[in-house]
Amino acid sequence: MEALQQFRATTREWLEANCPQSQRQPATREEQVWAGRNKTFPSDDAKIWLEKMSAKGWTCPDWPAAYGGGGLGDEETKILLEEMKSLGCRKPLLDIGIWMLGPALLEYGTEEQKLEHIPKIIRGDIRWCQGYSEPGAGSDLASLQTRAEDKGDHFLINGTKIWTTNADKADFVFCLVRTNTDAIKQKGISFLLIDMETEGVSTSLIELISGESEFCQTFFDNVKVPKNNLVGELNAGWSVAKSLLKHERKLMSEMGELPGPGFSPAQAAQKYVGLNNDGKLKNAALREQLTQHEMDYRCLGLTHFRTFEERINGVADSNVPLIMKYVGTEEQKKKDGLLVALLGSQGIGWEQGESFTADEILSTRSWLFSKALSIAGGTSEVQLNIIAKRVLGLPDA
């Protein structure tokens, strides 16, 4: 315990000494720092902050120090995050290499692959994107068609991936490809890392109902990929992918953390609906909905904390994390729907200008975008199937 208290003290001291004042408040969308070969920093402070943090490996605090990570244990990691939160320090670096690929590479990658990719992820040198879904495949990931032919010294890739978030900005994509067309579905799939600058790779943006979109379709037209970019065994990519999906679903369940409108539902209620003389929201039905949401949201947060506590204390129930993608995204949808309902006619505008503020338009767009949350990364229906099968042990049909 004393060692941990000591760690907390020195961590706090270091953060206070090294985190620039400008980095001690939530980042707007424009202020976020994403990894990349040619990344740009919104400010000098942001650059300094990333350099300081990545030098200590604290962009990935619980990764092995051997590859440049922080090398911290669970409890130390928790303390670091708590201290960052308490000072208001923003995340120095955003990348799905950190959230998704890294942990899988540490588990399945060769020593050579780890030495090549992990330090770059920690420093933010490479921006990653993910290539799982294909047009028409939907929840049935394993039915993918993108081919990787064995050409002796390399694989030759042909096919297309959809929902490749930020593929137009990414340097590398990690992909599921079919390496054996004879085997049944899952058995013939491999996990590949592909440099987006390779000849034959191209991307196009997908327009969503919310208008703007970070989703792309990515095309592979006779793309040559070195064989040592294969992660895990040949035709055994499904295990790597499943391990990764866990991280994606966890990520989706925390999407509420992304920058949204600058008001909470409760604030929006007070501003746009208003209170009666007795201090209650004017519209009783909206008040009920708001309260129900605030209550459920609080329970969701407490459950996040609980699973963390359980893990720290060695009494983790491995079933509980399985519900988080489902509950997290459904609740986020409710929150975004509630917000536009509270905004009333100010929550249904389409273009910013003298009639609608930026926050109002962002509310409308976020509400529309939220519809994708319970579809991407495993639909809610698939999540419920998983809970029924893996947690409750209900029989197959």
Partner: protein
């Protein structure tokens, strides 16, 4: 209480369906949106609708009307919900013509109703001032002076307000915000001096306007009905609007549902049609039952208007609250059941989702109408 359309109304409905499918499908709305059309609807299309008699369906024969009533108009509007067709029908006929029929004097009727029937005049109702439907909250002032009345204030969310020729403005001539007494209805030229209109493009690709009134001078003849007694006209007009909007929402929800059922029958996942998954089946069956209950209430509400029944206000709130909820349910389920493609702009389901949201907001959300219904029922 005819809970079915009669032969004449069915014919009108079938004709509308055919016409709208050919001339104003969802694709047409997409085109208006992408071309950033200045009017927000096709004037040529509107001319054809007028030729089909839609602008005159509810007008009395004495003013070039067909006198088919709201059952007839509702049948057409329900069909326009299937295709999301943009036109001035709602603002001009349901709101504009209804106000004049219910509250206008002979001169006002003569001046306006035949012109509406001929498609020569477009109307808009300038009512809301806040972000939530609240007719009693009006503050825009109508002060009496020597020449008549002078208007000052601002209106928001005026449907089709940017393209209307005339505005019916709900103004306060006496009393305080929150009172229904002291409201007055004013017939105003949309281009009168002192009026500034800002077009607001809404999420559903339809149009509304924010309108400010800066010392707009009216004559005493511009008052519809008695000064200060406007609410007695406005309230039944709003009930017509709520019911007609609910009819459109029923059409939209039904269309969205039908498309989803088709998709469930076509789309394969894990080697089988997704429509064979029992969880989706049950959700689809529940939507079907909700739509059937909705159909009954829309028919009863439309006929309540035509029969001038005393419970029309209850039915208006019942219909609007129900269709708010059902349209929301169906569009949300439609997106989810379509999966990834459901959230792309390429698929038309998104247009229904957005239209549902906007129409839910217009003329009272579900909370407003459940509260009103309860109050009307005495609890």
């Amino acid at each position: 209480m005819p809970l079915i359309f009669n032969e004449e109304q069915r014919l009108l409905k079938d004709t509308a369906k055919e016409f709208l499918n050919s001339n104003a499908p969802v694709e047409a709305l997409r085109k208006l949106r992408d071309e950033k059309d200045a009017t927000g609807y096709s004037t040529e299309l509107w001319r054809q609708m007028v030729e089909l008699g839609w602008a005159s369906i509810i007008l009395p024969e004495a003013y070039d009307g067909l006198d088919f009533g709201f059952m007839g108009l509702g049948a057409v509007i329900e069909e326009s919900g299937h295709t999301l067709s943009a036109s001035p029908l709602f603002s001009t006929v349901v709101l504009g013509a209804s106000t004049l029929i219910l509250g206008g004097n002979e001169q006002q009727k003569q001046d306006n109703l035949p012109a509406i029937a001929a498609g020569e005049l477009a109307f808009a109702l300038a009512l809301e001032e806040g972000s939530h439907h609240d007719p009693a909250a009006v503050k825009l002032s109508a002060e009496q002076n020597n020449e008549g009345y002078i208007l000052n204030g601002k209106k928001t969310f005026v449907l089709d307000g940017h393209s209307a020729d005339k505005l019916i403005v709900v103004a306060r001539s006496s009393g305080e915000a929150g009172c229904t007494d002291g409201l007055s209805l004013m017939l105003v030229d949309a281009n009168a001096t002192g009026i500034t209109r800002t077009r607001t493009i809404m999420a559903d690709s339809r149009n509304a306007a924010n309108i400010s009134f800066d010392n707009v001078q009216l004559s005493a003849d511009d008052v519809i009905g008695e000064i200060g007694q406007g609410f007695s006209i406005l309230d039944p007009v709003l009930d017509r609007a709520r019911i007609a909007m609910a009819a459109e929402m029923l059409g939209g929800a039904q269309e969205c549902f039908d498309r989803t059922i088709e998709y469930l029958k076509e789309r394969e996942q894990f080697g089988v049609k997704i429509g064979s998954f029992q969880a989706l089946k049950h959700r689809a069956a529940i939507m079907y039952t909700e739509l059937q209950l909705s159909k009954s209430v829309i028919l009863d509400a439309l006929s309540a208007i035509d029969e001038q029944r005393a419970d029309t206000n209850q039915l208006a709130s019942l219909a609007k609250a129900r269709l708010n909820d059902v349209y929301q349910l169906v569009t949300n389920e439609a997106v989810q059941m379509h999966g990834g493609i459901g959230v792309t702009d390429e698929l038309e389901i998104g247009f229904f989702l957005k239209r549902a949201r906007v129409s839910m907001q217009a003329f009272g959300d579900s909370g407003f109408h459940r509260d009103r219904y309860a109050t009307l029922c005495g609890y």
